[in-house]
Symmetry: C2
Subunit: 379 residues, 2 copies
């Protein structure tokens, strides 16, 4: 018996399976065409099922941020990049305990952190590949000069259980529309060249130069030196991705199915998707609101409470009735996935499948640690 | 063996158990002192353990927004208010299936919704008490005139399985600091009086007038006519609650324990609590940032990515080192709880207990419904 969208309790994230397959295929084809290694970031989907599809389509490995993500993805992938500073005893312990059959690469920007990482590797009787994280404009993490990068690379090279593998950057500061990224990408290429030259002059040529996220992914082949890209959002896309021109509106594979629960206040309708379903992410492009309707992009979620979203009806003739279902394209899909335990896969109006957001959450914060030695010190 | 904060993997929400007990007790005492019935909103904690404490301290029942919350709380409470529009077939089915031993009250603002609710009640062989939801300034849901409220009350009174119980409002529009709420509260009292008079003139005197949320809770006794308050945030409090004067800074019982993971970029430090741990909630008071440090309130989380929070160090002499743990008071604690599966209870620096965020998530979106009749129609 077929289940239809109308039978689902809302709010619930639903994924158009055709569109998901198209999105996966397109990025794989882009990377192949341009000789870039594709290492998708799993933060967007947090699902080993989708990760397996990405690997089947040619991805060389996966990128993770949390140890929970790495542990779950180790079940389907033997080549993981943990693109997050390896800092904190608990995080290091979990890194060291990842299956030894998995090649684990770590990004780092600090010599002290690397000393601790080396100890963790030795305790785990394993080696870590390490990428030096460089700040090429995002100003979040990463060393800010080629000299500092080389010092860290040498530090890695001297550590008994660490192997220098290259450099990593996150071009999250590139927020122009895709057609207007030219200047930023030229600057990026020039910056990368100074780092690569410094590494080479020190006798440590980088095997990997890892960069790229969905907004800039489609033009990363224009940046000389980049060997690997790490897009995440492209699997589902979202309103921001569409508005900057990195996908079409119809490429938004994930929407939040919601129900109109009140039309009592004039000029608006209230849906049951609020901040606990959509997050409160700004649109990183022209426009306002926290999401827009797939079938009525002019209708935005203009205000929210935890379980209420207010649809602004001032720019539309469409008038929803109480009980109508709508599909909201969220501003930032990675946050939406993190808010739910399960995703529903649909084809047209029919429910086809479902899968858990398996790498959601943080994993054990306490259980296993409680068995280890006590390490009291002042916070 | 004692476990200490330093052994926890971060980010993780931790609750000061002494402070939690104090917060619970103070609101219970306030309500008792002023003869107000206390029906705490569980959206903040989503935990039957804390709900049971609230009931033990004198709460007359609990307030829920989602059916998942209602189902979980039905295990510890026989008097639930679902303060959310009863719209959508799946939501109505779950309402009807709540244990029949539980008195269920529902808030509604629409006659068509009430007809469906009446059908659900009859199918469930039960009665629902109903509060007419009035819009007294929030402009989210609720009828906007006493005439409309009376029409709905009569509709309820005529429905075979519904009982008119009174009115409900949510004063979320009152965002002044506690000391400056006088005018808004006077206006609220005047509005309530017009509604109550209209109900009485129609021969339907309200048994319950339910209002109040944490920011305005401490002055709700000044509003004539209010019989019941529904604060939620007071159990944990947060930066917004403290900044508007509804609690002291030290009353913030829940903080997000985080680790400094990068100090590579000058003038800032990066912690591992970003939007996936803190949400991206604005401070609803003077000030900026998405949270502030418990021990250094002048240090705010000024920017965030999904797993990174940037601490602005421009207003402090404090200089964190890589690996240091910090405790972040979030702007809006209800969102933080919804982002995690488990809460850690601490006393001083020692971990004392832990509990799941049991009413988090949405519950079955599909499983049970798949057994019901198919109801295809166009979305």
């Amino acid at each position: 018996m077929t289940t239809y969208l109308e039978q689902l309790e809302t709010p619930v994230p639903i994924v158009d399976m055709d569109r998901l397959a198209f999105n996966l295929d397109r990025m794989a084809a882009y990377a192949t065409l341009h000789g870039l290694q594709l290492r998708p970031h799993v933060k967007t989907h947090k699902s080993p099922r989708i990760a397996a599809d990405q690997l089947r389509l040619g991805a060389v490995g996966l990128t993770c941020a949390t140890l929970r993500e790495a542990e779950v993805m180790a079940e389907v992938c033997e080549d993981l990049l943990v693109a997050y500073p390896p800092v904190g005893a608990a995080r290091l312990e979990r890194l060291a305990r990842l299956p030894r059959a998995v090649r684990v690469t770590v990004a780092a920007d600090d010599a002290n952190a690397l000393d601790a990482l080396n100890v963790a590797a030795r305790l785990g009787q394993r080696q870590f590949d390490v990428l030096v994280e460089a700040d090429l404009g995002m100003h979040r993490v990463g060393v800010s000069s080629p000299e500092r990068a080389v010092a860290i690379a040498k530090h890695i090279d001297r550590a008994s259980a660490l192997n220098f593998a290259g450099m990593l950057f996150y071009p999250g500061h590139i927020r122009e529309a895709v057609g207007e990224q030219g200047a930023a990408l030229s600057q990026l290429g020039a910056n990368i060249a100074t780092y690569v030259q410094a590494f080479e002059a020190a006798g440590l040529p980088p095997r990997i130069v890892s960069g790229g996220s969905t907004p800039a992914a489609w033009r990363m082949h224009e940046v000389p030196g980049v060997t690997e890209v790490r897009p995440g959002t492209y699997v589902y896309n979202d309103r921001t991705t569409a508005m900057i021109g990195a996908c079409d509106w119809d490429d938004c594979a994930l929407t939040v199915l919601a129900t109109v629960v009140s039309v009592a206040v004039k000029g608006q309708a209230v849906i049951d998707a609020g901040t606990k379903a959509l997050g409160r992410e700004p649109l990183r492009a022209e426009g306002d609101g926290y999401g827009a309707l797939l079938d009525h992009p002019e209708v935005v979620v203009s205000r929210m409470s935890e379980e209420h979203g207010i649809l602004d009806l001032s720019k539309t003739d469409w008038r929803p009735r109480l009980g109508d279902q709508v599909r909201v394209v969220p501003n930032h899909v990675c946050i939406v996935v993190h808010l739910f335990d399960e995703i529903i896969g649909v084809r047209g109006h029919a429910v086809e499948t479902r899968w858990p957001v398996e790498a959601r959450g943080r994993g054990p914060a306490l259980d296993e640690l409680a068995e280890g030695p006590s390490r009291p010190r002042a916070v």
